[in-house]
Structures are given as structure tokens and as C-alpha cells.
């Protein structure tokens, strides 16, 4: 491969950051639009339509999911291994924390929104990435 060829790993990272930035902007916009509609003109709409509008922000989240998948397919074997190991650790840690919280929720701890599982998983992924990456430095 010639040195002038664009490194596919760099290209994958650049594409991911662009797609992530656009998706997050779209996410904020759809949150604003859906909340404005639900608390405004759609306050009296049928529940079916309210569900559809409430779930609108899911569209950019799906785009982010696609961006993550494309990124994982575009990076080299070590970066992919780091991310897959991190995802596995994050999934395990989140499951453990969800199970532990489920045992005390309601009786000894306040009920939490399912949204916290997502937030916990993303935080766990970030932390796991940091430690898994250190193994190879």
C-alpha cells in the first residue's frame, strides 16, 4: 500500500465522528421538536400519534448505532478487539449493576427510569475502553 493512500482506520474514525456529530445534532433537534409538539399542538392527539412523536429521537440514535457498526467494521483488528472487549465488559458490568439494583429497587432504593440502564452502559463502555486500551500501551 502506498504511503499516500488514506489510512482506512483514520478514514473510519473521521467518518464516525462526522456521522456522530450530525446524529447528535439531529437528536437534540428531534428532542426539541417532539417535546414542543407533545406539550403543544399534539397534547390532545391520539395516543398512537403521541407514541410516534415521542419516539422520533430514536431515529438519530439508530443512525448513531449504524455509525458505530460501520466504525467497528472499518478499524483494524486491534482497535476492533479493544472495542469488542470493552463492549463485553460494559455489557457484563451493566447487567450486574441492573441485577443488583433490581434486588433493592422499590424497598431500599428509589425506582429508576429504564433510561439509566442506557446511560450506565455508555459510561461503562467509556470506562472499559480506557482500561482495555491500557493493556496494549
Amino acid at each position: 500500500m502506498a504511503s499516500t493512500t488514506i489510512n482506512p482506520v483514520k478514514r473510519a474514525a473521521q467518518r464516525y465522528f462526522i456521522e456522530f456529530a450530525i446524529s447528535m445534532t439531529a437528536y437534540v433537534a428531534t428532542i426539541w421538536v417532539s417535546r414542543s409538539l407533545l406539550y403543544g399542538p399534539m397534547r390532545t392527539a391520539s395516543p398512537g400519534w403521541q407514541y410516534v412523536v415521542a419516539l422520533l429521537p430514536l431515529v438519530p440514535i439508530l443512525v448513531v448505532f449504524g455509525a458505530v457498526v460501520r466504525y467497528m467494521l472499518g478499524v483494524d483488528e486491534l482497535i476492533r478487539r479493544i472495542q469488542v472487549d470493552s463492549l463485553a465488559l460494559a455489557g457484563g458490568a451493566t447487567a450486574l449493576m441492573a441485577a443488583a439494583y433490581g434486588l433493592i429497587e422499590g424497598d431500599y432504593a428509589p425506582k429508576l427510569s429504564a433510561w439509566w440502564t442506557f446511560v450506565t452502559f455508555m459510561m461503562a463502555w467509556l470506562i472499559a475502553s480506557f482500561f482495555v486500551r491500557r493493556r496494549y500501551q
Binding site: M1, A2, S3, T5, N7, P8, V9, K10, V75, D76, E77, L78, I79, R133, R135, Y136, Q137
Partner: protein
């Protein structure tokens, strides 16, 4: 797994980033390979072999494989 990547890279006067670009991996991967913290796949080992024009066993030390997983 020990290897001669750092020496071969120096002989060609390439930086880690240049080597990474030549074989299409991240610089982080070159760092891990040179430090022996990561053993490459067969495909990556053969790409390095082709780039340096040397057999795989002249780049990676087969005597150093202890059979333990990474």
C-alpha cells in the same frame, strides 16, 4: 510475542505513523506490536512480511511463543 518491527522500521527510516499508513492500521496498533503487547493475525503478519520483503519468521520470533493466550 517479540519481533523486529522497530528495527525494520528504523532501517526504512519510517515513523510509526508512516508504517501504520503503509499497512492500513492505527498508530496505536504499531505501538502495541512493537512493544510485543499484541500478536497480529496471520493476515496482518503477512502484510508486514510483504511490506518489509522478509519472511514472517524473520520479523516475529517463533521461539518466543509460549503458548499462553494474550
Amino acid at each position: 510475542m517479540k519481533n523486529r518491527l522497530k528495527v525494520l522500521r528504523a532501517e526504512n527510516d519510517w515513523t510509526q505513523a508512516e508504517l501504520a499508513d503503509r499497512i492500513g492500521v492505527a498508530r496505536q496498533t504499531i505501538v502495541a506490536l512493537e512493544k510485543g503487547k499484541y500478536s497480529p493475525s496471520l493476515e496482518l503478519a503477512f502484510r508486514l512480511s510483504k511490506l518489509f520483503g522478509k519472511p514472517v519468521e524473520q520479523i516475529f520470533d517463533p521461539e518466543n511463543v509460549d503458548g499462553k493466550p494474550e
